[in-house]
Structures are given as C-alpha cells and as structure tokens.
Symmetry: C2
C-alpha cells in the first residue's frame, strides 16, 4: 500500500514519525508492505514552494492508496493573506480528494476518565459517539469576498448546500450507526437557515430509507448544550462543515484527551486522509513533548477504513490501551501516579 505522508508544521513531523513507527511494526508483524512518500503541505510548503498546497502534493495524494497528515499552521504564517495560509493547504487537499465525510470519534478512554472536565456522574454514563462532519461544502467552500461599499469594507462568505451533498453525508452517518448503536442525531439551525431547512428535509428522506436507525433532529445551539449536559445520549451525530468544526472540538474536549483523538476523512472510494484532530502546537514543537496517540490512532483508522485491515487496526488500538494501562503519559495527559514520557518514548512503547 502506498501512503502519502504530509507531516506539516509544528509538532506534525514528530507525531507522524511515531505513527510511521507503529505502521512499520504492523507491517513487520503481519507481513505487509507500506511505501511512504513524504510531501509538503501548509506552512512548510509556503516556505519551500510559495504555496500551502503544491501541485506535486495534490498529485501524490491522488495517486496514493491513502494519506496520513500531522498538522498545519503556526504563528509564523498568521499574517499572510487568505489564500496563502497554511490552512488553505488542508482545505485544498480535502477538496481535491473529494473527502466529504469527516469522522471524529468522541470516546472517553476509561484510563483517562479523570481528565474529563465533566463531573463523574456524567462521565460514568459513558461518552462514546462519533461526529460525522460534512467536510467540503458549506461556508468553508462558498465564495469569500471583501470589498469596499459606501466607503467601508464589507466582507461576505457564502454558505451553499446542494441536495446531493447532504444526502451522501447523511447516508454515511446511517451506515456508521448500523455498526454501532443505530442512532443518528442530525444537527442544524433550521429555524434560521435555508441550508439547514434543506438539510433537515433531505436528512429526513434518507432516514426514512433506514427505518432500523433511530433518527432525530437537533438545533445546533441545543447540541452545544447537550454535549456538555448529557453526552451519553449520542451515538452518531451528523452535521454540516462549520457546525461540525465547533461541535467536534467541544466533543473532544469533554473526553479530556484531545491529544488522543484521531479522525478519518473519506470520500467515495477507500482512499482517505487521516489526521489527529488537534493542531500543530507550535509552542512545544521539536521538544519531544507532543502526544503521538491521536496520530497513531489515525493510522489505525487508515488500516481499518482504507485498507480493510481490521485485525491490524485492533492490534494498534489494543497497544495504545495497554500502554495507557501501564500508566505511560505524555505531558498533556499527565496524572498522579503515572509515568511521564516524551513523544518518541510513547511511540516506542506502543
């Protein structure tokens, strides 16, 4: 299998290196061969090629069986104009690869229950849901413009959604729910937005084709409350791009282990892009302090979703659980009685 590797900026290179170690251990143990091609994206690509997403990078991703990404961005590139910012590279590759479905699990590791900011009574009911975020539509990809009108600047972002874009993502949520607890919550703002009213209509149609899945709608403001109040109610949440961005970060925070949460971005085939949900953490870059687990679990998702290597994915996830059981922790998740290790040592242990 050919894997294009996009290490990116900040802690990106360190955490990806640990994930590659783990993939190599899998290859050796189970007799597979993975070929890696490292390409530039984000800030490093701006520095090296003057653009956050060079054509060679896009080509290499489209040509690969799957893509593993670290993180992009940092203060160094913050002052740049909109279309040569590191984030544009990430948005561009999502779009170029047609990755409309972003899967972000919000799962509490039992070993880390005390790291959740929520009360024990809430945590004990369990936190184990997946947010399915639409990733290449909505206000992220509508027209953006800033122009002078009557002597002042007016900026405008356009949020479009077409029926087929909604149908396919809700369809993904349904399929995932069937492998879990068969419950889908579709999140929108149908009392205000036309896109949300269309979303609700199409989601309802798709739900009707899946009578075995319990389906309901929830307003986004209410969802932001319910994630904190009673996360156990959720199994699969499906929502549009911008709402998904906000709610997935909130959802990952309540698990208390944002450094450990992986994500998969999928399109119509099996090729996907896998990345931890956290950012590039420029403040600790290069110090061997970062938590590589989010990236390692992203690699496990790649094994499962892109390569259909479920046994191998299970093995990686079990290794992570075992190392956590042993009490090894990177600085972000250090707790009483645990052993502090660096990024490399954590990768070695897993």
């Amino acid at each position: 299998k050919r894997i294009t590797v996009l290490k990116g900026d900040g802690i990106g290179p360190e955490i990806v290196n640990e994930a590659l170690k783990v993939l190599e251990a899998v290859a050796e143990t189970y007799g597979h061969h993975f070929a890696y091609q490292c390409m530039d994206i984000g800030g490093i690509a701006i520095d090296q090629h003057g653009t956050p997403l060079p054509q060679e990078t896009t080509d290499a991703c489209l040509d690969a069986d799957s893509v593993l990404l670290g993180a992009v961005g940092g203060p160094k590139w913050d002052g740049l104009p909109g279309d040569i910012r590191p984030e544009k590279g990430l948005l561009g590759i999502r779009k170029a690869m047609g990755l409309y479905a972003n899967l972000r699990p919000a799962r509490l590791f039992p070993q880390l229950a005390d790291a959740s900011p929520l009360r024990r009574e809430i945590v004990e009911k369990g936190i184990d849901f997946v947010v399915v975020r639409e990733l290449i539509g909505g206000v992220y990809f509508g027209e953006h413009k800033t122009e002078e009108v009557d002597g002042e600047l007016v900026a405008t972002d356009v949020m479009p959604y077409a029926e087929h874009e909604i149908r396919r993502i809700v369809q993904v949520a349904m399929e995932i729910a069937k492998k879990r607890r068969s419950c889908v919550t579709s999140v929108d703002k149908a009392n205000v937005l036309d896109t949300s009213r269309l979303w609700r209509k199409v989601a309802g149609q798709v739900a009707a084709e899946h009578p075995d899945v319990a389906f309901s709608n929830m307003l986004v403001d209410n969802a932001a409350m319910q994630i904190v109040k009673n996360p156990a109610q959720f199994d699969v949440m499906v929502t549009e791009n911008m709402f998904g961005d906000i709610l997935t970060d909130e959802a990952s925070m309540i698990t208390g282990s944002i450094g450990m949460i992986p994500s998969a971005s999928l399109g119509d085939g099996t090729r996907g892009l896998y990345e931890p949900i956290h950012g590039s953490a420029p403040d600790i870059a290069g110090q061997d302090k970062a938590n590589p687990i989010g990236t390692i679990l992203s690699a496990a998702m790649m094994l499962r979703y892109s390569f259909d290597l479920c046994r191998e994915a299970d093995a990686v996830e079990a290794a992570v659980a075992q190392v956590l059981d042993q009490g090894l922790r990177t600085a972000d998740s250090m707790a009483d009685g645990c052993t502090l290790v660096g990024c490399r040592a954590m990768g070695d242990a897993i």
Copy 2:
C-alpha cells in the same frame, strides 16, 4: 416608563407574569410607575394575525421605553415555511429595534454550584463572564434562498459583515469590560472566513483605542473547547451572531442553571429588549412548573440598562439570591434538601 410586553408562546406567559409581579413590587417600594402594553409575537401572533410580527407589535416596541419578552415557538408551528415561523418574529423585532448587542451573562450562582456539569475543581475557579453577541448581522440576516439547479435543490445563506457593524459591537464589549475585569476575547474563524478576517482586523483597531483592556483573539472551535476546559479565563467574550448563538448556549449550560440566565439586547439608545435565554418549553407550558428567574433577572437588567435604576436592579438580584439561599427551587433546578415550588410561588417569594 412604558414597557411593551411580549409574552409569546409556551411558558412565555407564565414566566413574564412573574417578572411583572416583581416589577410591580419594585414600583411600589421605590415609587415608580411602569405602564405595560401586551402585544403578540411568535406563534400566538401567527394564530391571531397570520404573521409572527404584526406591524402593531413593532410599532408598540418602537414606541416604548423598553420591551420584555418571554419566549417564542413550539411544535405547533414547526411545519410552517421560513418566513412565517415564530422565530421570524423574534429576529424581526431585534432588527426593527436595531438591537445589535446581545449581552448574555454566564455566571454560576454559588447556591447552584452542584448543578454545573463541570467538575468541582473547574467550577471552584469561578464562572463569571459575559458573551456579547452581535445580533442583527451575519448569516442570520444575509440573503437566504433555495432554488433548483441542475435538477436538484440548492440552498444558500449569505453571511455579510460590514466594518461599522463589527466596530460598534466590539466597542460595546470594551465598555462592558471596563466595568468588569477589563479583559476581552474576540472569537472568530479567521483561518477560513473573510467575515472573520475583517472582524479580527476591526476588533484589533478598536482594541488599540482601549489600551487599558487586555485583548485577544480566539478561534471559534478553540473557544468551544475553552468554555468547557477553563471558563475562568473569560471576562467578556465578543463574537458574531451565529457563533454567539452556539457559544452562549454552551456557556449557559456549564453554569448548570439555564433557567436562570437573563439577556439584554441593546442598540444605540437606552431602549432594549430583555428576555431569558431559554426557550418556550412547550412540554411544560401552562403547568406552573417553569422557572421564572431568567425572566425576572431580565427585568432586573432592564431596570439597570434601560432605566438606569441600579439600586432597584440590585434589589431584584438580591431577592433572587435570597430565595435561592432559602432553598426554594423550581423543578428544573431541584436538588437534595431544597423545597420544590411552582412558577407562581417562586415569583411570589422573590
């Protein structure tokens, strides 16, 4: 002072009646006279007049010294098309009155610390911030349309922001911060949206005019995390309409007392619209179960912001604290050792 009263739907009438009781107690004790004019808005207005915001209602609001609102909406009107939904009445009156600044305090009542879904260690650091939400711009008020394109429906919502709209709301946040802990966090999504980049630029300009206020920017996804992780870091948060909708609901939930949170919507003069942040709770409407405290504290905000009656506002807030100290609770906030009371009894006690 002439107050236009918009009771609205669901529990709206019950909770507003208790707030009027409290205003009358204030009038009697301090020798003021308040004249009330009740008008229809939301679902009831659709039923009575065929529109969620009849012209007479708008006129009465524009003619009053201030407006007190209960809540709008309910399942009865959920199937209606976009422009005759109850919420349109609320959005319409905000716009007609020019209420661009929505103030939503997220404050933990010490008596209710145990009701917060957050861990004690986090709660103990204190939760006391105000979200200043832009209320009549952005995607709420840009063009909404749904049309057929290439044989399928495509919906579009437009999110516009002009410099003057950003400047005036950030200005409000600065003034509020000066009366508090002098710290403003501006929340945007500047790595994706043009409106957010303009927001960040203008907010920075306004901040530069207020060197005595500590100012910083935060991305909205990060803000959704930080509210749960470390709410004590915030004093005043300022953000655009849609982000504000989501973050204020999340912020109110972490206080554990959503039924108790008031809000003020202000424009350029002293006239404002005051309403609890919770909804119309149709499931418990007419059962004397609702919590009137959010509405009563909204009336206190009216005394303070629209009528400059600070002593009177303090007295109402002190009465609420005293009743909570006595252990009186409505069903939504009932706890061990407290006394369950209905909506009317709570209003009487305050």
